[in-house]
């Protein structure tokens, strides 16, 4: 029997974060087929193959939710990824691949929308920031009734992040921290050297996740508000020291997360407004739209586009892998397996916070090493002289949809359940009355695995397209993918396993 898990999300009192879920991946396959377009061929065939299984557990034949043993559930997940790779190997025409990703629809009237919309949205952002600070200090102490906690964790971290990879990145407009720094001069006191790349944002991301896991920031409004204020202060100080642009591009972890997720989305920014692209196109295409106005290109002090150096590109790989790792880590620290590791350590006298930090860094190092090893192996299977860093850099964008899929799996049920509470708290922040929590139907448990699988399938597709850019002929690009597919199959299994674990309370911190 498999159950959904909600990791280290705020545990609201009296509400179970767990849900029993009917895990029928066969039914999931049919769902995937319904929502694919170009991928419809790939996934439609998959659905065909699963039809006999749907017949077995379909409506009318079996009235109870169908539950799969874990091993079968994981095997199916891995199998879907392997099969989707095999199916993409039938798409070998270069013109088709390039044409698919370069299809763009320029949206009319969006230049004005961007100008005015971003001003409005910036106001909303600042208002939200003020509300969080005010209600965090003055509002009720219970997490599930405090607007600050609900705004930050439900509306922003769950809901807004999903909107970024599903629709488009609106953070540059919404970002209240950036709005705060608009009064500062654009240039900083020091120039960050090239080799620094975006490593500071990776360090920032790891630090934020560690903090979220070891402190009560997820449930204590006071602590949350303090962290938010500290972040604001750091932003102002940092922007003053290194310059606004360098801060956002290289140091700010939050802006970087949204910038990366935004590349999965169908709506992208251009010089004159917005354009619609195929999902994943901004990850795979040779020429991504035009200037990603507020954060795609690094500029040096003179405002000229700096060349993308290998140091910078490698640091970007480091960030993307970190993003993937922290989504898994978030799930991992709420499992019984982790409890069985950390509790004995704590009882032996080892400080738990350090244990969490150690696990975070060890896991990150493992993920990075695994990705780098796979990239190195591509030199052999793809028969290429391209250097390992070049390969790693070229294929890193394919990892982003995987992180997005996992995020959606984890946070969509959570977001929907607490959205009514968030709305209620907005209407009466300081003394909210009875707040509603949505109870989701059983079949909703299927959303998780479907999201994870969709993310992986999109990742396979993006990697496939990239391979055709890098390599020649038709067999070389396909063979070059073997190491990545292997890693992805293993990672899918791990992700699905994490998703299926019941959430465990580890009362050490």
């Amino acid at each position: 029997m498999t159950k959904g898990s909600c990791s280290s999300l705020p545990e609201f009192e009296g509400v179970s974060a767990r849900e029993s879920s009917g895990q029928s991946l066969a039914r999931a396959s049919v769902g995937i087929a319904r929502h694919a377009s170009r991928l419809g061929l790939v996934l439609g065939v998959l659905a065909l193959f699963s039809a006999p299984v749907v017949g077995h557990g379909g409506p009318g034949l079996n009235s109870e939710p169908v539950e799969t043993p874990t091993w079968l559930f994981l095997l199916t997940g891995g199998g879907v990824i392997a099969v989707s790779f095999l199916l993409t190997s039938f798409v070998t025409d270069r013109a088709t691949l390039e044409g698919y990703h370069e299809r763009r629809l320029s949206l009319p009237g969006t230049e004005a929308l961007r100008t005015w919309g971003s001003r409005l949205v910036a106001l909303v952002g600042v208002a939200g920031f003020a509300a969080i600070v005010a209600v965090g200090f003055l509002g009720p102490d219970a997490a599930n009734r405090n607007l600050a906690v609900l705004l930050v964790w439900v509306v922003w971290w769950a809901g807004f992040t999903a909107s970024v990879y599903l629709f488009g990145n609106s953070w540059p407009a919404l970002d209240p921290f950036r709005s705060l720094t608009r009064l500062l001069p654009a240039d900083g006191r020091i120039d960050l050297p090239d080799w620094v790349g975006t490593w500071p944002s990776t360090a920032g991301l790891l630090l934020l996740v560690w903090l979220e896991v070891v402190s009560d920031v997820a449930s204590d409004p006071g602590q949350l508000t303090v962290i938010v204020l500290v972040y604001a202060a750091a932003t102002v100080l940092g922007s003053f020291v290194v310059g606004r642009r360098a801060w956002v591009q290289q140091v700010d972890p939050i802006a970087h997360v949204f910038r990366v997720y935004g590349r999965v989305a169908p709506i992208q920014r251009t010089d004159d407004g917005l354009e619609l692209v195929v999902p994943g196109a901004a990850l795979a295409a040779r020429k991504t739209g035009t200037a990603v106005a507020d954060g795609g290109e690094l500029e040096n002090a003179a405002g000229d586009e700096a060349e993308t150096t290998q140091a910078l590109a490698v640091s970007e790989v480091g960030f993307i892998v970190a993003l993937l790792w922290v989504t898994s880590f978030d799930g991992f620290v709420a499992t019984a397996t982790w409890r069985d590791i950390v509790v004995p350590l704590a009882e032996a006298g080892f400080p738990p916070r350090l244990a969490y930090f150690g696990a975070l860094m060890l896991g990150y190092a493992t993920f990075l090493a695994a990705y780098w090893w796979a990239s190195k192996l591509v030199r052999r299977t793809g028969q290429t002289f391209l250097s390992t860093p070049t390969i790693a850099i070229a294929f890193a964008p394919a990892l982003v949809p995987i992180a997005a899929g996992y995020h959606l799996a984890h946070y969509l049920p959570y977001f929907l359940r607490y959205l009514p509470a968030a709305v209620g708290a907005t209407l009466s922040p300081l003394s909210p009355g009875e707040l509603l929590v949505l109870s989701l139907p059983g079949w909703f448990g299927m959303v998780g695995p479907v999201a994870v699988l969709l993310g992986h399938v999109l990742g396979v597709w993006v990697a496939h397209s990239r391979a055709f850019e890098l390599f020649t002929g038709k067999l070389q690009p396909i063979r070059s993918q073997y190491p990545f597919v292997l890693v992805m199959v293993v990672y899918t299994g791990v992700s699905l396993w994490l998703l299926a674990q019941p959430a465990v309370e580890i009362g050490l911190l």
């Binding site: 066969a26 193959f49 699963s50 006999p52 299984v53 077995h56 799969t68 043993p69 079968l72 095997l75 199916t76 199998g79 392997a82 099969v83 095999l86 199916l87 190997s89 039938f90 070998t92 270069r94 295409a285 040779r286 020429k287 991504t288 795609g296 290109e297 060349e307 993308t308 150096t309 290998q310 910078l312 590109a313 030199r379 028969q383 290429t384 002289f385 391209l386 250097s387 390992t388 860093p389 070049t390 850099i393 070229a394 990239r466 850019e469 890098l470 020649t472 002929g473 038709k474 067999l475 070389q476 396909i478």
Partner: protein, 104 residues
Amino acid sequence: MPNPTHSDRSSRPEAPRGHPTYEYAVDSDADYCPTCGQPFRTDHLLTLHRGERHPETLDEAEQEHYDEVRDEEDEQLFIFHLKVVAAITLVTFVFIYSYTFVWL
């Protein structure tokens, strides 16, 4: 400092925007493309590359050789696809069996 994206090798494979120029680590005998200098492990791959990216530099004989190599590749691809279909069939069978007999 010379900008590596404007190298004198005019038809160097163009890296995607935001990607630094492709780097190569040559650790064994390589065949180099006469036009752009990119190294290849086999002559087969070099021929395919030249036909794809620098078709205008090929003479008659080289064009014929490219056509031959491409045909050979198409044949190999067909056989590969047969194996893929077999693999998909096997995987499907394993799942159908598992869901039908092992699980239920």
